[in-house]
């Protein structure tokens, strides 16, 4: 990696906002917004994995989908190799999409049940006119790449187990040799003994294809096994981000602390349990001030009214009044 590529992130997100309107009444006028992604900035370097952690409804999936322009953001910039994806017209966008691919949580619903594996994994290659249809050699190569039997290319998705299906969708996603893979909960639907296989496969492919990942998961322990950097989301905002080892060893934001503490760790008796009170508020009406103040064990008066600004220490950013 030369200096230039170290300095220049392949992906940079600036103040991204994806809001969904809430329509009310017969005139369907917009009564408010669900601020699923509310002013997020982050960046990603070549060959790096950014883990995006948060609980259901925090906006992590919406953020991932927005990156592929599957959702239309209200505001902000998504710079991919310096070009704003949001300005691209149809044709240019098509070209760009080749370089950003996505893996979804449930491989059964993301694979077409009427297509055989050969057609599934080479669909992208055919679509972009890189190969003619029905190319066995390419399909076999991809199958081998993800550790599946080369001779099963004429089988259909339902003939495979969950872990094998996820391998098929990974094969499809790497077929166009993308730069960036957005993985949305890629192992959550799988059995524990198979989860580790898929994580290892992703680690191998990262090295052999020089891929960058955005790895979205609700499980911080899985993320910690694959990510170089971690961003923790709560109600549409990032509350803390930084190098994975810093976040795990020394979480700063009270929410990150609670998330890490809530992971059941076999073999370790926890000295102190952090059990958060209450529930995540609805993203359509987040509380004023710091969104986390209603559940925060270290809440102060200032948190209830004033939104915390970013505080930066080294590579770490945290949005919390405790670190002003």
């Amino acid at each position: 990696m030369d200096n230039q590529s170290i300095k220049q992130p392949i992906l940079e997100i600036r103040n991204l906002k994806t809001w969904f309107p809430i329509k009310r009444g017969i005139m369907a006028r917009t009564a408010g917004y669900v601020k699923a992604v509310d002013g997020i900035s982050m960046h990603l370097y070549k060959g790096e994995t950014l883990g995006l952690v948060g609980e259901s409804g925090c906006g992590k999936t919406t953020l991932g989908r927005t990156l592929l322009r599957l959702e239309k953001p209200q505001k902000g910039k998504i710079l991919f190799y310096g070009k704003n994806l949001l300005d691209l017209k149809r044709k240019k966008l098509q070209e760009m999409r080749k370089r950003i691919q996505m893996i979804f949580q449930d491989p059964l619903t993301s694979l077409n049940p009427r297509m055989n594996v050969l057609d599934i994994v080479t669909e992208g290659l055919v679509e972009y006119k890189i190969i003619e249809g029905n190319n066995e050699a390419h399909a076999k190569r991809l199958m081998k790449e993800v550790g599946l039997d080369e001779n099963s290319i004429y089988r259909y998705p339902h003939e495979f187990s969950g872990g094998q299906r996820q391998r098929i969708s990974i094969a499809r996603s790497i077929s166009l040799k993308p730069d960036l893979l957005v993985c949305d909960e890629p192992v959550s639907a799988l059995d524990v003994s198979v989860q580790a296989q898929i994580i290892n496969l992703l680690l191998d492919l990262r090295d052999s294809y020089n891929l960058s990942y955005i790895f979205i998961s609700h499980d911080i322990s899985i993320v910690s096994n694959i990510a170089n950097r971690i961003a923790v989301m709560y109600l549409g905002k990032i509350v803390e981000q930084g190098p994975a080892s810093d976040i795990i060893n020394n979480p700063m934001h009270p929410y990150t602390k609670a998330l890490i503490n809530a992971v059941p760790t076999p073999g370790i008796y926890k000295k102190k349990k952090i059990v958060l009170k209450g529930e995540t508020p609805s993203p359509s009406s987040p509380p004023p001030g710091c969104h986390f103040h209603t559940r925060c064990p270290e809440v102060m008066d200032i948190c209830k009214n004033i939104e915390p600004q970013e505080s930066k220490t080294g590579m770490r950013q945290v949005w919390c009044h405790l670190y002003r």
């Binding site: 609980e55 096994n225 809530a262």
Partner: protein
């Protein structure tokens, strides 16, 4: 602590499908003592949920059939009871917490109505008394504005709140045994932590829990003993310290190694090789042998029996 509350003896359950008959539970025996929390852990399809459903005789029939075995609870074989006697047990002596709270609650009835139903049925009390008891239990599971919430419909509550209602319903009849089938799998991690604290807190001294989960971390947090199931059979059984510090079965070892732990660097995990076999083509001998790093000739020919290693630590493996 020593008295056996529930004893499952050589339970075998089979299901008939279009593709043929398969055994979901194969010769499974274990027990739950008074005031004990036992974890039943395994991956999808290992038969853990079917075992739990068999206890309450909730196996969908005619597809499913309890082929043989006994389920002794309070001196009686539950499999020999008639429907009327079984109804007395369900909810009253043994209650159940399901994985998906939204599916376990009726969407058409108010929380209060659903809660008092069981109370009135089993305790023979007036509607008013039942209502008061139910309301006090909603308070105990820390639902804010319990009085008003009694009039809410399930959809008006979040998943965590719904699971609290289910827990209140399961505990308010002070059952001897609570069967919890993946009670927190549908919930967020921080909500999971809340629910576990709640279950621990509310457990009366004589209540035993049979906790079914795929998450071995949950077993560590909650249980006194664990039963590890793999492909319809028991692979290992023992108290928590034995299971975690000196696992004897290669499957348990593999499971413990493959669990992603909080890690400060990206390192390769140690997965178990291969996939869980389909129940229609389990290998001969030991069902784990295709994936086992230590398999040898004998594993192909014979089915390993559970061997006692002392202190109630048992495993079904020829290596010991």
């Amino acid at each position: 602590m020593s008295k056996k509350l529930l004893e499952i003896d050589k339970l075998t359950v089979s299901f008939e499908t279009d593709e043929g008959v398969f055994k979901a539970v194969d010769d499974v025996s274990f027990h739950v003592k008074n005031n004990e929390t036992v974890g039943l852990v395994g991956e999808s399809g290992c038969g853990k949920s079917v075992t739990a459903l068999s206890i309450l005789r909730l196996i969908p029939s005619p597809a499913g059939r309890i082929e043989k075995g006994r389920i002794i609870f309070g001196g009686k074989d539950l499999l020999k009871l008639d429907i009327r006697e079984m109804k007395e047990i369900r909810g009253n002596a043994i209650s159940m917490i399901f994985q998906e709270p939204a599916a376990a609650l009726s969407p058409l009835h108010k929380i209060g109505q659903q809660m008092i139903e069981g109370l009135m049925l089993h305790k023979n009390i007036s509607k008013k008394t039942a209502w008061n008891i139910a309301e006090s239990w909603l308070k105990k599971v820390s639902i804010p504005d319990a009085g008003e919430r009694m009039f809410s419909y399930p959809y008006q509550l979040s998943g965590g709140m719904q699971q609290r209602v289910i827990i209140a319903m399961a505990l308010m009849l002070t059952p001897d045994l609570v069967i919890a089938d993946e009670p927190t799998t549908a919930l967020d991690v921080t909500t999971q932590a809340q629910v576990f604290e709640l279950i621990k807190e509310l457990r009366q001294s004589h209540t035993s829990i049979l906790l079914i989960t795929h998450d071995i971390g949950v077993i560590w947090e909650m249980c006194d003993r664990a039963v590890v199931m793999y492909a319809s059979r028991i692979a290992e059984e023992g108290n928590i310290n034995d299971i975690f510090s000196k696992p004897a079965h290669p499957y348990t070892k593999g499971l413990l190694k493959s669990v992603p732990k909080l890690s400060t660097e990206t390192e390769r995990l140690m997965p178990i090789h291969g996939y869980v076999p389909s129940p229609f083509n389990y290998p001969s001998g030991c069902y784990f042998r295709d994936r086992c790093p230590q398999a040898f000739d004998r594993c192909k020919k014979e089915t390993p029996r559970l061997v006692d290693l002392g202190n109630g630590h048992k495993t079904a493996c020829f290596l010991v």
